[in-house]
C-alpha cells in the first residue's frame, strides 16, 4: 500500500483555464491544474519531488492582467484567475526557449524534448553555425557517475536535491554567472575531492542525462545501451532496515542502473550509495 501524505487542507478556488471553469486547491501549481485538465504543458526543470526553480521557462502560460508570462510550475492558483495555455504569445515564448536551449546544449537524451521541438516548430539551427554552445568533454573522474556539461540546462534540480531539499550534503552549487554559469563543486574540482557522498540522488532528478551512471555512459559509448530491451523490477533494498524501494533496470540479465520510485512515501526516490550503486555483488557469478 502506498501512503499518500496529506498536506494541510486548502480551500478550493475557481478560475478559468482556456475559458473552461476549473477548481483547484488555493495556491497549488497551475501546472497541476493544466495536467488534470488534460493539457500538455511542457516542462523541464519541474520535477515531482522538488520545489520547481522555474528556470527553464518552457511551462509559461498567460495570466490575464500579468505584464509578463508566468511559469505554470510555480505560480499558484488564485480565485478568479484567467489562464490561457496555448495562445500565440505563449507558443512564441516556448518555441524561442526551446530554440535557445537546443542551440546551446545537447538535448539528445532529454525525454520528450524532440516532440516539443516539432510541436512548436522550433528551429535551433537558425542562430547560425557559430552560435555559442556548451562544448565540453564529459567529466569522468570516478567510477560511479559521469558529468556531461554539454547536456546541462542549469535546471538547478541536482543542486536542490543535494542541498536542503533532500540530501543535505551541499556538495554542488551553481558557480559563475550568465552563459558561463555551471553546476560545480567548490573550485570546480574533481568530484572525488568534493563533499559528494555518491548517493546518486542528483542523477535521479536530472532531466537531461547530464548526470548519468557510469554504467549507462559506458554502454552508450559502446553502443550497447538499449532501453527497449530493459526490464524494470521494483524490490526492497536489502542493506538495512529502512526499507527503501529499488527499481532494478536489467538488460541481458545484468543490472545496468538502479532508480527508486518517486511516489514511495519513505524515500521519494532518494537512495544512499549502497542502494544506488552497490549491486555488483548480485551479478558476481564467480
Amino acid at each position: 500500500m502506498t501512503v499518500t501524505p496529506l498536506g494541510t487542507p486548502r480551500r478550493l478556488v475557481e478560475f478559468t483555464l482556456d475559458g473552461e471553469p476549473v477548481r483547484a486547491p488555493e495556491g497549488s501549481p497551475l501546472l497541476d491544474a493544466c495536467r488534470s485538465a488534460g493539457k500538455d504543458v511542457p516542462a523541464l526543470c519541474q520535477g515531482d519531488t522538488l520545489t520547481p526553480k522555474n528556470a527553464c521557462r518552457i511551462c509559461v502560460v498567460e495570466v490575464e492582467g500579468a505584464r509578463t508570462l508566468v511559469p505554470a510550475c510555480s505560480r499558484g492558483a488564485e480565485q478568479g484567475m484567467r489562464v490561457r495555455t496555448d495562445t500565440e504569445r505563449v507558443r512564441h515564448s516556448r518555441r524561442i526557449v526551446l530554440e535557445l536551449l537546443a542551440s546551446s546544449v545537447d538535448l539528445s537524451t532529454t525525454p520528450r524534448v524532440a516532440g516539443w521541438i516539432e510541436e512548436y516548430g522550433a528551429e535551433p539551427g537558425r542562430f547560425g553555425p557559430d552560435a555559442a554552445r556548451v562544448d565540453e568533454e564529459p567529466r569522468v573522474d570516478n567510477t560511479l557517475y559521469v558529468r556531461d556539461y554539454d547536456k546541462c540546462i542549469l535546471c538547478y534540480k541536482c543542486v536542490d536535491a543535494c542541498g536542503d531539499q533532500w540530501q543535505n550534503t551541499f556538495a554542488i552549487a551553481v558557480a559563475g554567472r550568465g552563459f558561463d554559469a555551471r553546476i560545480a563543486v567548490e573550485h570546480d574540482a574533481p568530484l572525488t575531492d568534493s563533499a559528494c557522498v555518491y548517493c546518486g540522488n542528483c542523477i535521479e532528478v536530472c532531466p537531461t542525462g547530464a548526470l548519468s551512471f557510469r554504467s549507462e555512459f559506458d554502454m552508450r559509448a559502446a553502443g550497447t545501451w538499449d532501453e527497449s530491451a530493459q526490464t524494470a523490477t521494483t524490490t526492497v533494498c536489502a542493506y538495512c532496515g529502512v526499507g527503501c524501494n529499488l527499481t532494478l533496470h536489467v538488460q541481458d540479465n545484468e543490472i545496468v542502473k538502479v532508480t527508486s520510485p518517486h511516489d514511495n512515501p519513505v524515500t521519494h526516490g532518494n537512495l544512499c550509495i549502497k542502494g544506488r550503486f552497490g549491486y555488483q555483488h548480485v551479478q558476481n557469478r564467480d
Binding site: 528556470a55 521557462r57 524561442i96 543535505n168 554542488i172 552563459f179 567548490e186
Partner: protein, 607 residues
C-alpha cells in the same frame, strides 16, 4: 549538515582578514587549534549558520586584504560560518569584483560603458594596457559603468592591503589612470561632490539643496541646514501618519518601476510577521546613472535621516544600506555619517529620545548589476548568489530573511524628507498630477554641462538638454539607461513624466539622459549594450542566459550592415527579444532588448 572543508589552509594574512571581521575562532569546530574540550564538545552549526549573511562581507575582507580568494581562505571562511564550500564558491564566482584565481594586488577598473565609450574609453584602455604591461603588478579590467559618467572617461584603482586603497581617475588620461593604479594612496583626490551639480547654489533646488552647501562630514552643519526636521515631524505624526503623508504626496519610486511608495510602506507596516526590514537600494549600476552616488557623497546624513523615517513608518528596527561596491567615496561618507548619527543618539536604541530603536548596517555589493533587482539584492545580503526570486510572494510579504521588507532606492528615500517638511499637499503641487515632486536626471554624453540635474516633473527633454548645453549634431538620446530606450532629436518635446514618456512609447527609467552626437557610431553603442546584458545576466533563466548571447551574436553579424543585408538578423532579434521580455524571470532579461529595439524602430539604425 556534515560539511567537508578540504585540506587547504588559509595563510596568516587571510586568517587575519577573516578574524578581523568575525573575531577569533572559539573552537576547532570553527577553525581554531584543537583543544581538549573540543574532543568532548561539538559546536558551531545552527548558531554559526545564522550568520550566513556575513559571507559577502567575509569575501570582501579577504579580497580587500589579499586581492583574491584562495581555496584555503574560502575554506576557512566557510568553516567559521558553517557555509558549504560549494555554495560559497558559487557566491564568490558570481561577483565581478572577486577573483578565485591569483591576480596582482592592484586592479584598475576601466569603464568601457556608454558615456565613457563615447568619450574615448577604447583609446584609454589601449594606452593604459600598453603602459601597464604584464610585469607592472596591475591587472587592468575593462568593465561596466563606474557611475562617473559626468567625468567620463573613468577608471577606478583598487589596491589590496591593510587597509585597502582606492583611487579614482576621472576624467582619466592614460597618465592619471596609471598614476592612480601605481600609487593609489597618493593620487590626486576627487573633486567635491557638488562639481557634479551644474545647478549648485540654485535656491530652488529641493533634493540637491544641501549638496555643496553642507560639509558632508559634519552632522551639526546638516542640522543647521534643516536636517532632522523631517524625522521630528515623523515622530509627531506617528507611523500611520507618515504613511498617510507619503501616500497623499503621490510619491512613486524613482528606481524605474514607479511603484507608489506610500502603498509599499502601508503593505509592509500592516504585515503581522516580525521583524520588518527596511532596505535602501544604493546599488546604482544602470549605465549612465550616478545621482545616488552624488546624493550619498554630498548629503549623506539626508539618507540616514530618510532611512530612519522609512524604518519608523514601516515598523522596521533594522535598515540595510546595500551600497555599490564601486563607490568607495560614497561608502566612506555613509560609514562616517552612520557612525556619527549613532554616537549622537540619532540611530540606536532610542532615536532622538523617542523610544524608537533603529540602526543601519551597510552591505557592500561586489559588482553585479542584477543585484539592483530587489529580490536579488535580498539574496545577496543573505549570503546567496544574487539571483532574483520568483514573485509572488512580494517583498512586502516575504522579503529580506523571509520577512516583510520595504525596499526603496536612495532618490526615493531622500524625497521623503521634503514630503514631511513641506507637507504632502505642497509636495504634490510640484510636478504634474500623475508625477509629483522633483526629479533627478543624470545627464551625460554630448553636452556642455553634464551632471545631476533637478527639475520638477513635467519639464520636457528639450528644456533639460538645453539647460545642459546639448552640442551640435545630436543624433540620439538614450532615456532610462541601457534598460531604457533611444529617442530621436525630433522627439525632444516629450514631457519628462511617467505618463508622458509612457505615451511616447519610452520610459524615464532611472533618470538617465545620455546624449550622443553623430560622431558616435550607433552600432557600436548597441553592441556595448548587448555585451553589458550578456555579462550581467545571472544565468538563472534560459531566455536571459541564452537570449542575451544570441542578441549580441546577431548584432555582431549585422555590424554596419543595413537594409536587406540586415533584415534576417533584425527579424531574429525581434523574436528573441519578445521572448526575453515575456518569459524572463526578472527585469534584467525583460528589458535587455529595449534599447536595441528602440534603436531599430525609432532611429532606424539598420534600415
Amino acid at each position: 549538515m556534515d560539511l567537508h572543508f578540504g585540506d587547504s589552509k588559509p595563510s596568516d594574512e587571510e586568517r587575519a582578514a577573516v578574524d578581523a571581521l568575525l573575531g577569533p575562532p572559539e573552537s576547532s569546530w570553527e577553525g581554531a587549534d584543537r583543544s581538549d574540550a573540543d574532543l568532548r564538545w561539538a559546536r558551531g552549526g545552527r548558531e554559526a549558520r545564522a550568520r550566513r549573511d556575513l559571507l559577502l562581507p567575509g569575501l570582501h575582507a579577504v579580497n580587500d586584504r589579499v586581492g583574491w580568494i584562495s581555496e584555503g581562505a574560502l575554506a576557512y571562511l566557510c568553516r567559521r560560518l558553517t557555509v558549504p564550500p560549494a555554495e560559497a564558491y558559487g557566491v564568490a564566482t558570481f561577483y565581478a569584483m572577486f577573483s578565485v584565481k591569483p591576480r596582482p594586488a592592484t586592479v584598475l577598473h576601466v569603464c568601457t560603458d556608454l558615456a565613457c565609450l563615447a568619450a574615448g574609453a577604447p583609446e584609454l584602455c589601449e594606452g593604459v594596457e600598453s603602459r601597464l604591461g604584464p610585469g607592472s603588478g596591475v591587472s587592468v579590467q575593462r568593465g561596466p559603468c563606474l557611475g562617473l559618467c559626468e567625468r567620463a572617461p573613468a577608471a577606478l584603482a583598487i589596491r589590496a592591503g591593510d587597509p585597502v586603497r582606492t583611487a579614482v581617475a576621472a576624467p582619466a588620461t592614460v597618465e592619471r589612470a596609471v598614476l592612480a593604479a601605481s600609487a593609489p594612496g597618493s593620487a590626486a583626490g576627487e573633486p567635491p561632490a557638488e562639481r557634479a551639480l551644474p545647478q549648485a547654489g540654485d535656491p530652488s533646488l529641493i533634493l540637491l539643496r544641501r549638496v555643496g552647501v553642507v560639509d558632508p562630514a559634519d552632522l551639526d552643519d546638516y542640522r543647521a541646514h534643516g536636517g532632522y526636521t523631517a524625522l521630528r515631524r515623523a515622530f509627531a505624526l506617528g507611523p500611520a501618519g507618515v504613511v498617510r503623508e507619503v501616500t497623499e504626496s503621490g510619491l512613486v519610486g524613482r528606481g524605474g518601476a514607479a511603484f507608489p511608495t506610500g502603498r509599499k510602506w502601508q503593505a509592509t507596516a500592516s504585515r503581522p510577521e516580525t521583524p520588518h526590514y527596511l532596505v535602501c537600494n544604493a546599488d546604482e549600476s544602470e549605465p549612465g546613472t550616478f545621482k545616488d552616488r552624488v546624493l550619498m557623497e554630498g548629503d549623506p546624513y539626508a539618507l540616514v535621516e530618510a532611512m530612519t523615517v522609512a524604518g519608523y513608518a514601516t515598523g522596521a528596527h533594522q535598515g540595510y544600506l546595500y551600497l555599490r561596491g564601486e563607490y568607495p567615496r560614497a561608502l566612506r561618507r555613509m560609514e562616517h555619517a552612520i557612525g556619527r548619527a549613532r554616537a549622537r543618539g540619532l540611530l540606536g536604541d532610542d532615536v532622538l529620545g523617542q523610544g524608537y530603536a533603529f540602526d543601519i548596517e551597510i552591505r557592500r555589493g561586489a559588482g553585479a548589476y542584477v543585484c539592483g533587482e530587489e529580490t536579488a539584492l535580498f539574496n545577496s545580503i543573505e549570503g546567496h548568489r544574487g539571483e532574483p526570486r520568483t514573485k509572488p510572494p512580494f517583498p512586502v510579504e516575504k522579503g529580506l530573511f523571509g520577512r516583510p521588507t520595504a525596499e526603496n532606492n536612495v532618490e526615493t528615500l531622500v524625497n521623503v524628507l521634503p514630503v514631511l517638511t513641506m507637507g504632502a499637499e505642497a509636495y504634490a503641487a510640484i510636478g504634474t498630477a500623475g508625477s509629483t515632486g522633483p526629479k533627478l536626471y543624470c545627464v551625460s554624453g554630448s553636452v556642455e554641462r553634464p551632471g545631476v540635474w533637478e527639475l520638477p516633473f513635467g519639464a520636457t527633454l528639450r528644456e533639460l538638454l538645453e539647460r545642459a548645453g546639448v552640442r551640435e549634431g545630436l543624433r540620439a538620446v538614450l532615456l532610462g539607461g541601457a534598460a531604457g530606450g533611444f529617442v530621436r532629436p525630433d522627439e525632444l518635446d516629450v514631457p519628462l513624466t511617467f505618463e508622458g514618456t509612457r505615451e511616447a512609447g519610452t520610459t524615464l527609467g532611472s533618470g538617465v539622459v545620455m546624449a550622443f552626437d553623430d560622431t558616435v557610431p550607433l552600432p557600436r553603442l548597441l553592441l556595448r549594450i548587448a555585451a553589458f546584458f550578456r555579462d550581467e545576466s545571472c544565468g538563472q533563466c534560459v531566455p536571459c542566459r541564452v537570449g542575451t548571447v544570441r542578441q549580441e551574436e546577431a548584432l555582431h553579424r549585422i555590424a554596419e550592415r543595413t537594409g536587406a543585408a540586415a533584415a534576417h538578423d533584425v527579424a531574429l532579434l525581434r523574436e528573441v527579444g519578445r521572448a526575453m521580455r515575456d518569459a524572463s524571470i526578472c527585469g534584467l532579461g525583460q528589458t535587455a532588448w529595449n534599447a536595441v529595439e528602440s534603436a531599430i524602430d525609432r532611429l532606424g539604425v539598420y534600415a
